[in-house]
């Protein structure tokens, strides 16, 4: 029962982070800032959802496999983001910046 509640809370938090990632993806102005938004979903979002699954799995091989999914995600996600950003820069895309007359908040 308590495990179920913890699991629900965790999955809820993860879903909220993924929602934020998606929202950021729409609101941000260029490819680099969008990558920042999606990294929220990659790390915190996926992490909390997998944690919620682990509560359901209990101490078992399934939980170990969920941990492995997280480990692989944590190693591959930054590689993909880096490759994307590097390719965009090489392609000559200049990062969006705040205009001087529009002072930083």
């Amino acid at each position: 029962m308590i495990v179920d509640i913890l699991s629900w809370i965790s999955i809820g938090i993860g879903a909220a982070f993924i929602l934020v990632g998606g929202l950021g993806l729409v609101r941000m102005p260029d490819v680099f800032t969008r990558l920042h938004a999606s990294s929220v979903a990659d790390t915190a979002g996926a992490g909390f959802i997998l944690l919620g699954f682990m509560f359901q799995a209990g101490l078992s091989l399934t939980a170990l496999k969920l941990v492995l999914i997280f480990v692989f995600l944590v190693f591959t996600a930054p590689t993909a983001s880096h490759a994307l950003a590097h390719a965009a820069l090489l392609d000559g895309i200049r990062p969006w910046t705040r205009k001087p007359k529009d002072p930083a908040p």
Binding site: H36, A37, V40, A44, L61, L64, H82, P95, T97
Partner: protein, 158 residues
């Protein structure tokens, strides 16, 4: 040799975790497959301190714990930025100095930066890492060098 042995133990552990069937026949098959994989890796000459960094030892799990907290904190920061009605971003692309001596240390640092929401490594240059940050504040925090020092400590003498 130490690397090959630890690669064997690591791969066999992974095989055991993913298999879930423990009959003598399957255990033997798994050991044979693992040995073959290690042999191929040895032939490819990828079993070294970079591909299999066992010299980092206990320091790397401790660093991961610290990094997890950092990721959560910056995930909350980026969440606040995304949800604020006025998109309070001020992106900057600058070079951040890195004090790691080995390539492995630089990779750990660059990956940690990218993994942390709000900062993103775009390139590794001679004098440091080129980093894109979502806000000027995020860049300033990174330049204070807390993460840089920690990664250098994890890297140790190698």
């Amino acid at each position: 040799m130490r690397h090959a042995l630890s690669l064997f133990v690591g791969l066999y552990g992974l095989w055991l975790a993913l298999s879930g069937h423990y009959t003598p026949f399957l255990l033997a098959i798994g050991a044979a497959c693992t040995a073959f994989a290690v042999a191929v890796a040895l032939r490819m000459d990828v079993v070294d301190h970079e591909g299999h960094p066992i010299h980092l030892g206990y320091r790397i799990p401790l660093y991961w714990c610290w990094l997890t907290i950092q990721i959560l904190l910056s995930a909350l920061t980026v969440t606040r930025i995304v949800l604020s009605p006025r998109l309070r971003i001020d992106p900057v692309l600058e070079t951040v100095p890195s004090s790691q001596k080995s390539d492995l240390g630089k990779v750990i640092y660059a990956n940690s930066i990218t993994l942390t929401p709000g900062t993103l490594t775009t390139s590794v240059t001679a004098d440091g890492l080129e980093v894109h940050a979502l806000t000027r504040r995020g860049m300033d925090e990174l330049k204070q060098g807390g993460m840089d020092r920690r990664v250098t400590a994890v890297e140790g003498e190698s």
